[in-house]
Symmetry: C2
DNA sequence: TAAAATATTACACTCAGTGCAATATTGCAA
DNA sequence: TTGCAATATTGCACTGAGTGTAATATTTTA
């Protein structure tokens, strides 16, 4: 019965994931159409075919809906950093890890989410704090790769600047009219910045 | 009657400022005693001798109470940067501006506020977004001092790293058991970081 | 097929925040 | 001084997010 066990366990989890995704997608559509604040949880629940109370069984807050697509980012980021071949400059390690991260983004959806986040001071603040979390993740992962204590502050700076570049690239990309890809933005910014760090 | 005018105008403003400060101080005391979430606006209003509705005449949200002490930070910061004597390295400009900023802090109150902020994910996020605002302020002010376009990215990096140092210093200071002053933390961190930026 | 685990819901509640309109207080001009 | 205008304070009723609880439905497993 082990097989049946696994199938049924998996089915339940699949069901849950499906409901979760359905709520999130429904909510995103409503946010785009009517704005974040103007979209009540009642509206989201109704459009998702669940009760208001059940919403809170899936998400602990309204804001968390938007976090759905970012939940695994720190762990993915960490893994990407540690998976980089050794012998590279730490800046290159982070640049490559960033490229892996953003390769998985759905451009349409990302930009829609970005616009919603920009519309609310609260969402913006919550989002910005996620960059600091990424910076911390980057720093810790770099320290595993370069455990030498004398390099600690260098790794701090690399983490700060790299995640800063990621933030700027995402902003410029989501804001920009030009058809440039996010990858292009990121690579250009990194190249520009790399010119600087030696001559400060 | 010009004199009387000014006196009475000033008196009204003084009254307003006093009430505002009284509410903020009362609230801070309650936050420290009972925690941020457990302190309702009703409790704050009552302890401040005003009605709940009047509270919103002075503050637009509960969170804004804590922002009272940081409201003028960006403008003060900007002024401090622009007031620095020329001929210095941009890192020194920002370090000195930071020192001016933190010189005005009341240690007791600052640490109390820091503890409250740490206790709430929401407050933490709002606070972290203020560092990004400071970074933006620093960047813009540095660009006024070094308008040369070829230095733009260098200024970005200086702003990122310096404000990052400020953040780390404040965290270490507020968290630390040792009696070291905030100034000491900041100077030490800057010195450490300055060693790095040339040899990345 | 029964009981254990998980999912869904209703209901009633707290609290932050807003709109509105009434009242009180103060400032200023005649 | 008195009356008018601006500002300050309040009450009331409302919306919307989020929680506690307990009941009911559904699914899993033994």
């Amino acid at each position: 019965m082990i097989e049946t066990d696994q199938v049924q366990e998996g089915w339940r989890e699949r069901k849950r994931r499906e409901t979760l995704d359905r709520i999130a997608d429904t909510a995103l559509t409503l946010f785009v159409k009517n704005g974040y604040d103007a979209t009540t949880l009642d509206a989201i629940a109704e459009a998702s075919g669940i009760s208001r109370r059940t919403f809170f069984y899936y998400f602990k807050s309204k804001e968390e809906i938007l976090a759905t697509w970012q939940r695994e980012l720190p762990e993915t980021f960490r893994a990407a950093i540690l998976a980089e071949p050794s012998g590279q400059h730490p800046f290159d390690v982070l640049q490559n890890a960033h490229l892996k991260l953003i390769a998985n983004l759905d451009p349409q959806k990302s930009i829609a989410i970005y616009r919603i986040i920009r519309s609310s001071e609260y969402l913006l603040a919550m989002n910005q704090s996620k960059y600091l979390k990424l910076e911390q993740t980057a720093f810790e992962a770099l320290r595993e790769l370069w455990p030498d204590k004398s390099r600690m502050n260098a790794m701090r700076i690399v983490a700060m600047v790299s995640v800063g570049i990621l933030r700027l690239s995402l902003e410029n990309w989501a804001e920009g009219q030009e058809g440039k890809s996010l990858e292009t933005y990121l690579k250009e910014e990194f190249e520009e910045m790399r010119k600087e760090t030696l001559k400060l």
